[in-house]
Symmetry: C2
Subunit: 230 residues, 2 copies
């Protein structure tokens, strides 16, 4: 079959429509997505969906993968838009972009970073795009190291097993990265994820009305921890 045949084009559009409807339902109904509901939205029989996605999990997987890509794109684009030497600016831009994306797409964020669906196991395709946001943060630290703006923290407190583990990670993901700095970069990523999750999952209550400023301050604390110059 020709790649551009009428059937192929209609099929591609149909897939897009299904995904769009599914995303719409995701926003209101959460992870328990109903295939029949999206079929109703599209005015088709529920069984017809199975012509395009072999199962509900498969549709979810596609949405998850695209969400990872979208988040990774957003973070990397925000980082790229800042002067390479402005480490702190890049740090803030990246973190804010992640939060902004999460606030704009809460259901998809919950799908990525919420509790895992019981029977569901993420395919290997997700690990690479999932690693892009933390890699962006670590890249900022690396650049600072390269330009001398950033001095690596002492690794004295690092227990030997952690040092070895982190050395392995650095070897495969960020060659030349000092382990102590890598650990602090990962702390920043953990903090970013925790902050967004707390805000999104309603754990922060209404106690802190100025969420943007609070977020910025907490992110600044981690920027200091990593050693980004002010």
């Amino acid at each position: 079959m020709a790649a551009n045949s009428l059937r192929a084009r209609v099929r591609a559009e149909m897939i897009d429509e299904i995904k769009a409807a599914a995303r719409r339902h995701l926003a209101t109904d959460g992870a328990n997505l109903s295939l029949r509901a999206v079929a109703r939205d599209l005015g088709m029989a529920s069984s017809a969906i199975y012509r395009y996605f072999p199962s509900r999990d498969d549709l979810l997987t596609t949405l998850i993968l695209e969400a990872y890509v979208a988040l990774g794109d957003a973070v990397e684009a925000a980082d790229a838009a800042v002067d390479r030497d402005d480490l702190r600016g890049r740090w803030f831009a990246s973190c804010r972009a992640a939060r902004a994306w999460a606030l704009a797409n809460p259901a998809e964020y919950a799908l990525l970073y919420g509790s895992p669906v019981p029977g569901y196991t993420a395919p290997d395709d997700t690990v690479e795009p999932a690693a892009r946001p933390p890699m962006t943060l670590i890249g900022i630290a690396r650049d600072g190291l390269a330009t001398g703006q950033l001095t690596p923290p002492p690794a004295d407190d690092l227990p030997q097993p952690v040092r070895d583990d982190l050395a392995d990670v650095a070897a495969s993901l960020a060659p030349g990265m000092p382990v102590a700095l890598l650990a602090r970069g990962m702390a920043g990523w953990t903090q970013l994820f925790g902050l967004i999750s707390f805000e999104l999952f309603g754990r922060i209550k209404g106690a802190l009305p100025h969420r943007d400023d609070y977020f910025d301050h907490q992110i600044a604390l981690m920027a200091d921890l990593v050693g980004l110059p002010r």
Copy 2:
């Protein structure tokens, strides 16, 4: 009816059995708990469950509340078991207890700190027990302040809105607590939650085999941030 009548006792036992069976299913099936499966386990009709819990959400709420209490108990007990003046020891004990509880009860932890169930809204009863772990951490910082072991960080970087918000929180939860210190304590709590979630939800992959040591080091970073003396 007498509170200790035979009926009341049998009923209480039945409720306990239902909760136990539900917890068992929770561990394998996650948040999508099946009432019918629980009923099957207990050898009773599904409709009979409704004599004890008005709905599935109500059963879930009960489990959530008890999980909050269990986690709070675990953290506070760990903190209380350490010499009051050993701030760092208390910090480590509290954080490790939270992680240990989460690893021992992953399904319940996911229920508490994973993505919120779509239609479900947590009742007000949960906010007090939910606040116990972070309050324990903040209490450690307060004690350090009282004994002079800990000097409050400067509040210079804090934007005014955040300072005001945090002052309100401090006024109602931790009177006399400097806002900058409160912010760092909350950062510690956020980091703790993020660390546990990453480990539990499989985001950390097999990249860091020595998870205990990694956890300890990241917790130590936050202890330093709060200013706990070594």
